[in-house]
Assembly symmetry: C2
Homo-oligomer: 123 residues x 2
DNA sequence: ACTTGACTTGGAGTACACTCCAAGTAATAC
DNA sequence: GTATTACTTGGAGTGTACTCCAAGTCAAGT
């Protein structure tokens, strides 16, 4: 799969795909004989993981660190486990923060809806 | 309340508090006779809202836009309602994305836990 | 009067995550 | 054999959100 196809598949620019690789967020992608990237299923899995992590707001550095540990082999298993647990914690906190803000937003939105109906502000 | 006290209360630097004001994320703060900021309850509410929104990842621009509309008066009620609804949508999407990543992380973490127990990778 | 300390400002600097670009290569189309 | 197209690279540029700094003001303490 070419970088162009992968870009379309995941809805992400080719530049970003190359950037992710440069940043170590995914291991070096398989190359065709002419030097062009030729994404294999494995590469695609890494891309999918990277995009998923980034979309949820996890920093590039943490994901790259995971890839480094992965490439270092089995001796890093517990470190990788720790790293993933840390990221899980970050996301759980982030989720709680979002819930808090959503509650706050809902209260405000409700007030605007009352105002829209009655023509009056309720606060 | 001085900027230093507010900074401690919310666990945010004085620089960031001034930046939030400069960026229009909170309306101009009440000043003491010497020109120093003297946060009133109202100002503190705005600060709390701004921090809450930022902590959940909403961009500064959107919050500043809300403040602008608020300052423009009652004629912007429906616009403000719309803006808050948009931000709510953003946060809901973000939450879903986090849940997706958490699921993915949980699967990976489980595999590492099995590996830690059995000494073998399960994939 | 002078030092100290807490604040003020505008503006410059930093970190992060892209995003864009110029110059080059490699394979196909005519 | 040359034009076109799709890729390659290193490096520079952009936008966001801080973060830091220098120079100045103001009030209180000695």
């Amino acid at each position: 799969m070419t970088i162009n196809e992968v870009s379309k598949k995941f809805g992400i620019t080719m530049d970003t795909l190359r950037y992710y690789e440069r940043a170590g967020m995914i291991p070096p992608v398989t190359r065709a004989s002419n030097g062009n990237r030729d994404y294999q299923e494995d590469d695609l899995n890494w891309v999918g993981l990277a995009i998923c992590m980034r979309n949820s707001g996890l920093p590039v550095g943490g994901i790259a660190q995971y890839v480094r540990l992965y490439q270092a082999g089995d001796s890093t298993l517990s470190e990788r486990h720790q790293l993933l647990s840390d990221q899980k914690k970050i996301l759980q906190d982030q989720r709680n923060q979002i819930d808090e803000t959503l509650e706050r937003l809902n209260i405000k939105i409700a007030k605007y809806e009352i105002a829209a109906k009655t023509g009056k502000l309720s606060w």
